[in-house]
Amino acid sequence: MRISITETTAGRIAGGRFAVRVAPEQWLSLVVVAAGFAGWELITLLRLVPPDLLPGPGAVAATFFDILRNGYRETTLSQDIFATLYRCGAGFLLACVTGVPLGLLMGYRAKIGSALDPIVQFMRPLPPLSYLVLLILWLGTGNASKIALLFLSAFPIIVSSAMAGVRSVRIQKLQVARSLGANEWQVFRFVILPSALPMIFTGARIALAVAFSTVVAAELMAATDGLGWMVFSASHFLRNDIIIMAVLLLGLLGMLLNSLVLVIDKGVIHWRGVE
């Protein structure tokens, strides 16, 4: 782990004041992304794929500005982005609020864990599209069924990671804490939770990504706005420029959400890799 060490040393020397300076690694990332775009442009320039199947970056950018200005089928772009973010955020947060306590409990109390784990593990591999129809039947075509779908896709992952986090706590630590006279709450608060948190955050990031990648499925049926809806609506008229624009926006939004969780992760779990 030479790299980590130099990183922390550099961080100490910089003292945070020079943190805005672009690191060489970030330049590398930029170059790689630029190369990706150049490759895309090249593919369309050389007409390796007909432009209506894979429109070039220019065409997609033009579509983006057009939709930014004029909206898409009676919705504005910001409305679509917000609708998608809202569904994803609501489903994900609901899954966190319910999944983390449940997972902690399941990790902490073996009986509860073994009782509920099969159900959670059964839910985890279920394709959201498989129960989308059922959710619409039960909850209607509004936001409730869509949020429920995203909740169900994130929930098992969060529960599993919280449970795994608790179970990964070192036994010695527990024993030491107990022998020092810590009560159950203290053991939980000062030993189990700090050890479990890194895994919970990793799980939350994965769950967020999964929920986000499910958002298009959620908007597959009976939606009237959202980026996923835009993808399907555009696909009926073979508008691949709109589809690619929406895909890029979805990817970027997903990255943004992920880095948001990462920032929180860094702020909360300062002990990751230190203990």
């Binding site: 990332s29 199947l53 985890r124 990648s213 499910t214 996923g228 993808v231 691949n240 230190v274």
Partner: protein
Amino acid sequence: MRTWLGAHWPALLVFGVVAGAWTVVTQFDLVRDLFLPGPGLVGAALLDLLNNGYKSRSLWAHAGLSLERVFGGFITGALVGTLLGLGMGYSRKVEAVFSPYIEFLRPLPQLSYLVLLIVWFGIGEISQVLLLFLTALPVSAVAAMDGVKSTSVQRVQVARTLGATDWQIFRHVVLPSALPEIFTGARLAIGVVYATLIAAEIIAGSTGLGWMILDAGRFLRSDYVFVGIILIGLMGLALDRLLLAAERRVVHWAGKA
């Protein structure tokens, strides 16, 4: 037998409660069978599918094809993803090169780029497995990277002062502490791959459990949908247990070190 029961009674109890509630709710017509088919209907649908298959293929053929796709996508995706993740955790340069794409790909809805896959790779198995590969890869990569990064700095320093080479540090310090997260990542990846199965089988359907569920759902055949859901859930559960058993064998030090 008694010990087995002793270990599993909570799960059995929950299973009993769920099955009981399901029976009661449907038996007394509290919901229409369009909304929630009862155990009887689902059982009949299962028998029907076992005997007659679904649309010119047997149920086993559909399940087998799905399993092949899942395995194909999972094994390749988890392997490449883990290697990539180890590299990304180990070197900032490797991370800088791959992370924009990994981070972009990870939350990207598979349904949204289906058509592009067809454009490039056609409607055969390649596209379907590739979609699952692309789903598993970022999950495994991030888990492996996080695993490497969570290695304790002190331990690396100790190993280094003791004169360990880079490879020895990787093999004896970094890898052991990353393995639990790698396994967690693998289990997550198989879940996500299964969850993407329908999206993959949309590509040019007529085979696979995912496609069967989708096709049956079109006409609200909830009984077939339930059979499909239960089969996928059980297959996923079995694979997850398999991975868990492997994890216990390989990572016997988790929670002890």
